[in-house]
């Protein structure tokens, strides 16, 4: 074929037009724009927050679609085409330096987000997200409203749950230490309350617990467990002072349950997605030994010792 200017320009335009009609126009026309069952329109405030999200390039680290192979935040609900009908521009994202946010709404209460945006390491010590303390308060408020709307009706349901538990949590805190701890313990199911930590305290166990504490807990509960971490000033009710648990019946089971399940309504998140059983027992025992000053580790009632368990003396050698 002789490649004249006409052939090069005309031919490539022809090819291009054919391709565009197949891969751009055809999907544009045929993709269903029916909203999914969980969809709801965003409020004006939430849309303003989305603009803040766009302006600061949040989309480069946070994707907004959950895949069938995911285990992380929001993994219970795989993304549907109908979730995106109001997205202009789309914020699907192409990298996951931070977690997927498509179901982030209602995961945490608003005050947790305030502390997290001020400096992400205050709530998530190993995060590499930039601090957003430079945002004016109205833009920060809008951004938080947007994040809390992610997941639409599912987010609303989670937010409803946060609000429902926030009220009694605040009341309990304001009623004083004794009443607060009683309220906290009271919501742990009975069998957990009576359960001691079934594994012995060991030096390596405490070291592991410390490592977990520093990666997950220190921002709120502080380096000495007094609830005075850098995030504490922005959280209400504030993080628990562990030293106050001394002599107040905090069993290994209670600590385990609270770490696993979190306390919805407060800034205390659940950690069961991120920490396996051994890590939760280890960090619970670390808190018990160092901050509460009493541990029920390896006391009765306990079952058959796990195969790995060694005698104390050997571990400490």
């Amino acid at each position: 074929m002789r490649m004249s200017l006409d052939v090069v320009l005309g031919g490539s335009l022809l090819v291009f037009a054919a391709v565009v009609s197949v891969v751009v126009i055809l999907p544009g026309v045929t993709i269903s724009d029916k909203p999914s069952a969980d969809y709801r329109p965003r409020t004006e405030l939430e849309n303003g927050g989305r603009d803040v999200y766009v302006a600061n390039g949040c989309t480069y680290c946070h994707s907004q679609y959950v895949r069938w192979i995911d285990w992380g935040l929001g993994a219970e609900r795989v993304a549907l085409s109908g979730d995106y009908i109001a997205e202009q521009p789309n914020l699907l994202g192409s990298e996951r330096t931070g977690p997927d946010l498509s179901q982030a709404g209602g995961e945490h209460p608003d005050d947790w987000h305030g502390a997290h945006f001020h400096n992400p390491r205050h709530t998530r010590p190993e995060s590499i997200m930039p601090p957003f303390a430079f945002l004016e308060s109205n833009r920060l408020e809008a951004l938080i409203a947007y994040v809390q709307s992610l997941g639409f009706k599912l987010a609303d349901a989670r937010m409803e749950r946060q609000r429902k538990w926030k009220k009694p949590a605040v009341e309990a805190f304001e009623a004083g230490t004794e009443a607060n701890i009683e309220w906290l313990h009271g919501h742990v199911p009975e069998p957990w309350r009576e359960l001691p930590n079934p594994y012995p305290t060991t030096r390596v166990g405490l070291e592991r617990g410390k490592r977990i504490y520093q990666g997950f807990c220190i921002g709120c509960h502080g380096e000495v467990g007094d609830g005075m971490g850098p995030a504490a000033a922005r959280l209400y009710p504030p993080p628990l002072n562990f030293t106050a648990l001394n002599g107040r019946g905090a069993t290994g089971g209670i600590l385990y349950y609270q770490i696993m399940n979190g306390i919805t309504g407060t800034a205390m998140p659940y950690f069961k997605r991120e920490l396996e059983s051994e890590k939760i027992w280890a960090v619970g025992d670390y808190v018990a030994v160092y901050f509460i000053g009493e541990s029920d580790a390896d006391t009765e009632p306990k079952g058959i010792d796990a195969a790995y368990e060694v005698e104390e003396e050997i571990t400490y050698r």
Binding site: M3, L5, V8, L9, G11, S12, V15, F16, V19, V20, V23, V24, P27, G28, T30, I31, D33, A55, N56, G57, C58, Y60, S63, Y65, R67, I69, W71, G72, L73, A79, L80, S81, Y84, I85, A86, E87, Q88, P89, N90, S94, E95, R96, T97, P99, D100, P120, R121, R124, E126, S127, I128, M129, P130, P131, F132, A133, F134, G215, R273, E274
Partner: protein, 465 residues
């Protein structure tokens, strides 16, 4: 069999070509600096904390926009403004028009990047620049095309060499892709709604590489390699197969970015099939270029300019084996969303397009100025730093990406895996530092190679050496 003719040294000013290439050198210095700054923020997030215009999400967009459009594309457009007139044996239609297009192009990019730093963005990757810049970019494309097409129409050479097809065809389709991809009919929003927006976005996103950067880089390689090897082009037929098949295959594959998103399955299928079919244009182009140089590879590797281009074509092979591979759903389960993706992107833009860009620049500078480049030693240093930088970045990010991908796939959360990437992010900055320094050397060497810009001292230094 035809090849770029070995004409005498042109004495015309080449202001447009040089202007584009100098702009590219400057943009690369800025763009890589933005990149390394963003990289440092990943390992020290509080270092530049709360400086709004330097927040990672804004820097990242500035980095990709500057390096892709400011450096890689601009360098090769500069080459086009020298190579196309040369191949059709007439001077460029209008240097004034060329300078006007450069002014509009640079102005649009600068305005777009400043707007990004202020938080004005259309948010879609590689289509971030705000509406006025979009208009400017399209105007600049039209001015470039006008200039080049009129030049070709006035040609004295009856046969159009393959580089001309790619330069002119690539720029024309890029202008069209830019308008469609940026949804310019939607005005300031620069996007439509929902999944159709994602489909257009990634049609565009991949075509920035496939219809803009790749044709420009391939065109430049088609010019440099036969000349450097002093051999006629191996096959005219392969050139044609390569040209038409890249237009057909590459344009279909954007949706492979959305394989795990709720996009239509038939579209995903097309994207994967054509991603694999991309091996056809890549193989034809590379077979054609390498067979041209067969037995003469030494000629290519001794000269830093030709070595840049030759190694760029090897990078092209690696990128385009990796690309089809990672478009497979079973591979994407691990690689998607991870550092594997920026590893691939850096290899494509810096390793393939960027190295061919700099090599072509070094190769045509002596043809334009009639004297050797300022320093062959600096060019060699430039080459090695850029090569080592991009290869080590590729290796480091690929490892990091595999760590992330496997950990996620087997049930770890993003936050738990994040600390595992720290060391790789440190090494990524070290690799980036090599590319940053290489950009300074490249710009310095380029400026000193131009008599008008380098002044008398450059000539004196050259005599002394």
């Amino acid at each position: 069999m035809n090849s770029p003719e070995s004409a005498q040294v042109d004495t015309q000013s080449h202001a447009t070509a040089l202007g584009y290439m100098i702009s590219a050198g400057v943009w690369m210095v800025i763009g890589t600096f933005a990149g390394i700054t963003a990289g440092i923020e990943l390992i020290a997030p509080d270092l530049l904390g709360n400086i709004a215009w330097l927040v990672f999400g804004r820097l990242r967009a500035m980095h990709t926009t500057i390096v892709m459009f400011g450096f890689a594309v601009t360098m090769l457009i500069g080459a086009a403004f020298y190579i196309v007139p040369r191949l059709v044996r007439v001077p460029l239609f209008s240097e004034k028009l060329g300078m006007a297009s450069l002014f509009v192009w640079n102005g649009s990019l600068l305005a777009g990047v400043v707007a990004l730093s202020l938080g004005y963005t259309q948010s879609r990757e590689y289509a971030e620049m705000f509406y006025p810049s979009d208009i400017g970019v399209v105007v600049a494309f039209v001015l470039m095309l006008w200039n080049l097409i009129v030049t070709v129409m006035r040609r004295k050479e009856p046969v159009l060499y393959v580089s001309v097809w790619y330069f002119v065809g690539g720029l024309m389709l890029s202008a069209a892709t830019y308008i469609i991809g940026n949804c310019m009919w939607a005005g300031w929003k620069g996007a439509i709604f929902g999944m159709p927006d994602a489909v257009i976005h990634w049609f565009y996103g991949h075509n920035v590489l496939g219809l803009l950067m790749t044709p420009l880089a391939v065109a430049a390689a088609y010019y440099v390699i036969p000349r450097a090897a002093k051999a006629p082009l191996y096959s005219h037929t392969l050139s044609q197969i390569g040209f038409w098949s890249i237009l057909i295959m590459y344009t279909h594959i954007g949706t492979h970015h959305l394989l795990q998103a709720p996009a239509p399955t038939w579209l995903k299928l097309i994207s994967v099939v054509d991603s694999i079919a991309m091996t056809i244009p890549v193989a034809t182009v590379l077979v054609n270029l390498w067979m041209t140089a067969q037995g003469r590879i030494g000629k290519l590797t001794q000269n830093p300019a030709a070595r840049f281009v030759f190694v760029g074509t090897i990078m092209y092979l690696v990128v385009c084996i990796q690309g089809p591979f990672q478009s497979l759903p079973i591979v994407q389960r691990i690689t998607h969303f991870t550092h594997w993706i920026p590893a691939h992107a850096h290899l494509a833009v810096v390793g393939f397009v960027g190295m061919i860009g700099w090599g072509t620049c070094y190769f045509i500078l002596p043809e334009m100025t009639g004297r050797p480049i300022h320093s062959k030693r600096l060019a060699n240093l430039h080459y090695w730093l850029m090569f080592m930088g991009v290869v080590s970045m590729m290796v480091v990010l690929t490892i990091s990406g595999l760590i992330q991908g496997h950990a996620w796939y087997h049930g770890e959360g993003v936050y738990r895996v994040l600390p595992s990437t720290f060391l790789y992010n440190v090494m990524r900055v070290m690799a980036g530092a090599m590319i940053v320094v290489s950009s300074w050397i490249g710009l310095y060497n380029l400026l000193r190679s131009i008599p008008q810009a380098g002044g008398a001292r450059a000539s004196a230094g050259e005599v002394a050496s």
